[in-house]
């Protein structure tokens, strides 16, 4: 009951006209960002963060805006998967498998509506899951000391490297790059300057927003210059939009099963939405009796991954809010937002700033309803936005990123670093090195070191203290399993390729 009254307070925050307006704006922007190929949830949220600051919004308002963008982008990703056969973002990859064949068979409208409903079911139930589970986990997290937190950070890096990427060594290198960069600047414990090489700009470290926008947005420009922005014309016809009641009823169990799978995958630190949509699609294919239509336009193959990835998006907020450990690239960006707003995520957030937490949760529920309205009757409007050609879109994104970062710091040096990160991101992407661990490293590096050092102060330098509690041992075991396990499952976990024309 306590939860219910807190939630009511949350609605009181979320239903003010300003917040409601921001949620709607966020949903629209998010759907556009998700739908545009080459502009996924992570870089979409990243380039908008500096702009949210320049609006002078308070913490709750900026969080509402950004999480609506986040949920919106998760909805929007499906539009380009279904119509262009290009996933708007990574989690939407699985939707291309059945969505595009369905669209080619003349049922593009049905596929869009069905996937919109599936997204709604997944996201809504996951938000309820978040309401139930997050306070429990927050209470548990009070038992965590420095040793447990250190092990938890290790767990986040290893599941991210093990499950979410193909080559563990490369993911480890990426994590080291991020952690190494986070060491630059003044050491929190001793106020000694590290790795600045006499450059005054580096004294307060490398701003994670600079790295995020560089690695995500600027890199994208270089990728498009290389590929010359291969034309992304819509090859399928979109007729009148009707609601395919039969398909929705056919898929109801598929949606519910996928929601559960996606939600659990989302909670795992480091696994995130891509894993959620992948697992729910595979599970659905294995469960249904007649799966001969899968890959050829089965409605269940559209509903399952969409419900799964939106449920994962909700689940991924749980570790981010309660423990301060993000479960995916985008939640890492949201964590960056929290840190810039001077809000420390973690168990204390639920007691110190209940207005922020419950206002956020209430606006997620509102955002979901808004998104359903936007994505079912108004889907045609978003389809039109897909026609923005890359040679307008990418320069535009770059200019917005530059002005955003510039308005935040006013420093030419930061922009130079951002270009540097962009160039680095291009080569890393070519070499198949994941960039999300770099972001996670920059975000978590200092806290990871602080916790390690605090643990060592408590134990007076005894390293076995790191394994002194069952919670910590559990995290270490899960970390090793999460890093090593996928090596043996590589054959099973192989990512499928989108259908070819």
């Amino acid at each position: 009951m306590e939860t219910l009254s807190l939630l009511m307070d949350g609605f009181a925050v979320a239903l003010t006209p300003t917040t409601l307006f921001l949620a709607v704006i966020g949903c629209i922007l998010g759907t556009i960002i998700g739908a545009l190929p080459g502009l996924g949830p992570s870089n979409g949220v990243a380039i908008l963060i500096p702009l949210a600051f320049s609006l002078g919004l308070d913490a709750t308002a900026s969080l509402v805006l950004m999480t609506s963008v986040y949920y919106g982008a998760m909805y929007g990703g499906r539009i380009s998967s279904i119509l262009l056969n290009i996933p708007g973002d990574e989690p939407a990859l699985m939707t291309t498998l059945d969505g595009y064949p369905m669209a080619k068979a003349g049922r593009a409208g049905d596929a869009l509506v069905l996937s919109g409903v599936a997204s709604f079911v997944g996201a809504l139930l996951a938000t309820f899951g978040l309401i139930l589970l997050a306070p429990v986990l927050a209470r548990l997290a009070y038992k965590f000391g420095p040793a447990e937190y250190f092990a938890l950070y290790i767990l986040a890096f290893s599941t991210l490297g093990g499950i979410a990427s193909k080559n563990q060594a490369k993911a480890a290198i990426a994590a080291c790059i991020g952690l190494g960069i986070s060491m630059i600047g003044i050491d929190n414990n001793t106020s000694i300057v590290r790795f600045t090489y006499g450059n005054l700009h580096l004294y307060d470290g490398v701003d994670f927003l600079v790295a995020i926008v560089g690695l995500f947005a600027v890199t994208e420009v270089f990728v498009f210059i290389e590929s010359h922005g291969k034309d992304s014309a819509i090859g399928v016809k979109l007729g009148k939009i009707t609601i395919p009641v039969n398909d929705i009823l056919l898929c109801k169990w598929a949606m519910l099963r996928s929601t559960l799978i996606g939600f659990v995958a989302g909670i795992l630190p480091g696994a995130g939405a891509s894993l959620g949509s992948f697992l729910s699609y595979s599970a659905e294919k294995a469960i249904v009796k007649d799966n001969s239509m899968f890959g050829k336009g089965d409605p269940r193959g559209v509903a399952a991954p969409e419900a799964g990835n939106n449920a994962a998006a909700g689940g991924a907020l749980i570790p981010m809010l309660t423990l301060g450990v993000p479960g995916s690239g985008t939640t890492a960006v949201l964590l960056a937002l929290l840190m810039t707003l001077n809000i420390t995520p973690g168990p204390t957030l639920f007691t110190d700033r209940p207005d922020v937490v419950w206002g956020l949760i209430a606006s997620l529920l509102i955002a979901n309803v808004v998104l359903l309205v936007l994505n079912v009757p108004m889907v045609k409007f978003f389809v039109r936005i897909l026609m923005v050609p890359p040679w307008v879109l990418l320069p535009g994104v770059t200019m917005v990123s530059f002005v955003g970062i510039y308005s935040l710091s006013g420093s030419t040096f930061d922009l130079l670093m951002m270009i540097g990160f962009g160039a680095m991101g291009f080569f890393l992407r070519k070499l198949d090195v994941p960039t999300v661990p770099i972001i996670l490293g920059i975000l978590l590096g200092n806290r990871m070191e602080d916790n390690l050092r605090r643990a060592m102060v408590i134990s007076d330098g005894d390293w076995t203290f790191l394994f002194s509690s069952w919670i910590a041992i559990g995290f270490w075991a899960a970390a090793i399993l999460g890093f090593v396990g996928p090596m043996f499952l590589r054959g099973v976990l192989k990512k499928p390729v989108p259908p070819t024309d």
Binding site: S54, L55, N167, A169, K170, A172, I173, C176, I177, L179, G180, M183, D187, N189, T190, S191, I192, R194, F195, Y197, V218, V221, F222, F224, I225, E226, G229, P389, P390, W391, V392, L394, P395, G396, T398, M399, V400, F402, V403, Y406, S407, T412, L415, L416, I419, G422, A423, F426, K430, L431, D432, V433, M448, E449, L452, R453, M456, V457, D460, G461
Partner: protein, 144 residues
């Protein structure tokens, strides 16, 4: 081959990083771990991972022809130039040039590139200045 070179670069950077870490001043007020240990651990992990990548490289990615790298280099120069001119020259002129040039590099047609440059600079200026209230100057201050 690409992976071997990448591993080697990371190896050298990691060794350099560890060397820099040895030069960190030690404080008289230090904890058992100190300011150097964590950087050593990071460097060590990077070395191990780099050796693994060199030992078991993956197949080479597709590297575009040299001309593409020239284009990418030009794009970097355009962006750096944009960075340095944004403050002294105001928003409109550098943005028109930079977005037009980037547009041309993605799709080499002159008229659309010019239109993109002008459209983006004017449109974004309006959004930034009037909707978001950023303190941008349209033109160099000395002009008026």
């Amino acid at each position: 081959m690409s992976d071997r070179i990448f591993g080697l670069v990371i190896l050298i950077v990691a060794l350099g990083y560890i060397f820099s870490a040895t030069l960190i001043q030690t404080s008289f007020l230090s904890d058992p771990v100190g300011s150097k240990t964590f950087p050593y651990i990071i460097g060590g992990c990077a070395i191990v991972a780099a050796l693994v990548v060199m030992w078991k490289p993956e197949t080479d990615p597709y590297w575009p022809p040299a001309i593409t790298f020239v284009r990418l280099g030009l794009a970097v120069i355009v962006l750096v130039g944009y960075d340095y001119t944004l403050k002294p020259l105001g928003f409109i002129i550098p943005t028109t040039l930079a977005s037009g040039l980037l547009s041309y590099q993605i799709s080499p047609r002159r008229l659309p590139a010019v239109l993109t440059g002008v459209g983006l600079s004017v449109g974004l200026f309006a959004v930034f200045k009037f909707a978001l209230g950023l303190g941008l100057y349209a033109f160099p201050k000395a002009w008026f």
